[in-house]
């Protein structure tokens, strides 16, 4: 019995040592882990994820979306009972703000995830095949990049029917963000393709998909991660901005952008500051978390790759 636990613990220690060595061997990770601000950022992000999952599991979405006259006093200032106060529809703002984390994390992940995948695909193809492929892909990306991002998102949102709610904001932003990833990944892939080991692999007879999947992509992983992290914060802001302007979450949804919008419209000049203050605070802290981490990651990045990220 005891020997088994010992070997188990031994194996665990061995594994841990392996991880430590791998981190030491990777200048990217060891640089990153020695950056205290980046770790603070990581902490913020993890905390927000915990809040998001907690809210999704334990907060009753239906209850916090409805007006609650009769149960709560309307427009009550923050107190022990209502830590963030209540809004104009007598809803308790605290659980709504917690639930907002779920929307931010979920829709942010989808927006950044899909545009990363699309951008990686387009960027590697453009870099690897060059010539016409490169021109067609990158010139189309240039057109999308010729618009201020929020503006293009606004124009695109108009295409999708109202009923899609937050999904139309996600769809529009995915289109807006894809070129940013494509451009960065193209740059990184071009840098990798210059390396001799790629020539060696091709000389050994490796097919295109093999070179891309086994050599180009793994070596582009770091810049891809950095770009995703930095854009995650922006995506959360833009998603909230679209809701703020009335083109995102439908009425009643506890999304930070919509809460801010209502709070500013109805609460700002009437002295109900908590209505917009707390959703905005959570939004800003979450975005700060991603920016701190992304910034630290960029500093830890190989200088050759850093140039690709703006």
């Amino acid at each position: 019995m005891s020997t088994e636990t010992d070997t188990g613990a031994e194996a665990g220690r061995r594994q841990a040592r392996g991880v430590v060595e791998r981190v030491r061997a990777s200048p990217f990770l060891s640089d990153l882990l020695s950056n205290r601000l980046a770790l603070v950022g990581l902490g913020i992000i993890l905390a927000m994820i915990v809040i998001a999952v907690y809210a999704r599991l334990f907060v009753d979405l239906e209850a916090i979306s409805l007006t609650q006259f009769g149960t709560n006093p309307p427009q009550a200032a923050p107190s022990a009972e209502y830590p963030f106060g209540t809004d104009g529809q007598a809803r308790d703002i605290f659980p709504r703000v917690l639930y907002g984390a779920w929307y931010a994390v979920l829709y942010g992940t989808i927006t950044v995830g899909v545009s990363t995948i699309a951008g990686v695909g387009l960027g590697t193809l453009a870099a690897y095949f060059g010539d016409v492929t490169d021109n067609v892909v990158m010139r189309s990306m240039d057109v999308l990049l010729a618009f201020p991002s929020l503006l293009l998102a606004l124009a695109l949102v108009a295409i999708f029917p109202d009923g899609l709610g937050l999904w139309r904001a996600v769809a529009a932003l995915t289109l807006v963000y894809t070129p940013r990833f494509a451009r960065v990944i193209r740059g990184a892939a071009l840098a990798v393709l210059e390396d001799e080991y790629v020539d060696a692999t091709v000389a050994l007879g490796a097919a295109d998909p093999r070179v891309i999947v086994h050599h180009v992509l793994p070596n582009c992983l770091a810049p891809i991660t950095v770009q995703s992290t930095l854009n995650f914060g922006l995506a959360i802001i833009d998603l909230a901005a679209l809701s703020f302007l009335g083109f995102g979450a439908p009425t009643g949804t506890p999304s930070w952008g919509l809460m801010l919008s209502n709070g500013v419209e109805f609460g700002l000049l009437t002295g109900i500051w908590w209505w917009s203050f707390f959703p905005g605070l959570f939004l800003a802290i979450t975005v700060l978390g991603f920016n701190l981490l992304g910034d630290g990651m960029r500093d830890a990045l190989d200088p050759r790759m850093r140039d690709a990220i703006d």
Binding site: R139, A146, L154, A155, A158, L260, L268, G271, W273, L288
Partner: protein, 350 residues
Amino acid sequence: MISKRFVAKRLLLLVPVLFGVATLVFAILQLSPGNPARVIAGQRASEEFVRQIERELGLNDPIYVQYGRFLLDAAQFDFGNSYTIQRNTPVRQILRNKLPVTLELALYGQLIGILLGIPLGIISAVKQDTITDHLTRVGALSGISIPIFWSGPLVILVFAQFFGWLPTSGRIDAQRFSIEQVTGLITVDTFVQGVDATLSSGFAVSHFAPFFSAVEHMILPAATIGIYSMALISRMMRSSMLEVTRQDYIRTARAKGQGAKITLMKHGLRNALIPVITVIGIQFGSLLGGAVLTETVFGIAGIGTLLVQAIEVGDYPVVQGTVLVFAFLFTLVNLGVDVTYSALDPRIDQ
């Protein structure tokens, strides 16, 4: 020196991009649900009337005819007449009235950002890894992380609501002053026109009272934008300055006996400013996009609020015109940045 060939090449490259931009805008509006004729006619209008408007606007023409017409008109900055917002007014005229409002706001915001961001970045770089540096960096990152639609309401809350020092929204005290729009830049118009002292309900007011009112209204929105761009600029300034101080020519200057401060200002700053100018340019472009939010928060009737309103009511010509003009300006600013960049740094590949 600016190479003429470089500029010509870049201008030529603009053509396909702008063509693509126009095509995309046309496609977006074709794909948008809703019938423009119905928007014009109103919900209660008869089918007959809607059909008639469709014919007048040429909405039944084949799509390539509509596309060709759109491109020709757009090339001449003719975006048709507004459907609902200012019915039958040419969109070009609406834009001409509203664009200066947005540009003025963005300019002042950017000015605040530059005036604060560059010194902060330099201080941060010079005092690298001290407490000042850490505070500036965290401050800058926070500035970027705070959305304008939260910082805006916060400054309104503090400076307008709590202290009552500044007005909450609008561009001028409209009840007291009416200013004729000449340039469209309200601080310029009010400064030039001033006010006739006898007009103002018996109270003696300064000739510049409307100007001060305009400035008062400008402070909060411009500062809100300024905080954001200050954060971006100081970050870039810091890293660029650190990069430059590691260069050989700095060491050479120091080796020949030049003082540290002079070297930093004369050789360091001038070279370090080059990438910062890029950021300022790009930042100005995104300020135009951010104008939508700033204007909404501060109740300013610029091109940003116009666009939101136009999308809400389905005023297609206004949407088209606004988006195209934004993209055009954004592209021009980027071109300007590239040209400036190459003029400042002759090593840039032309």
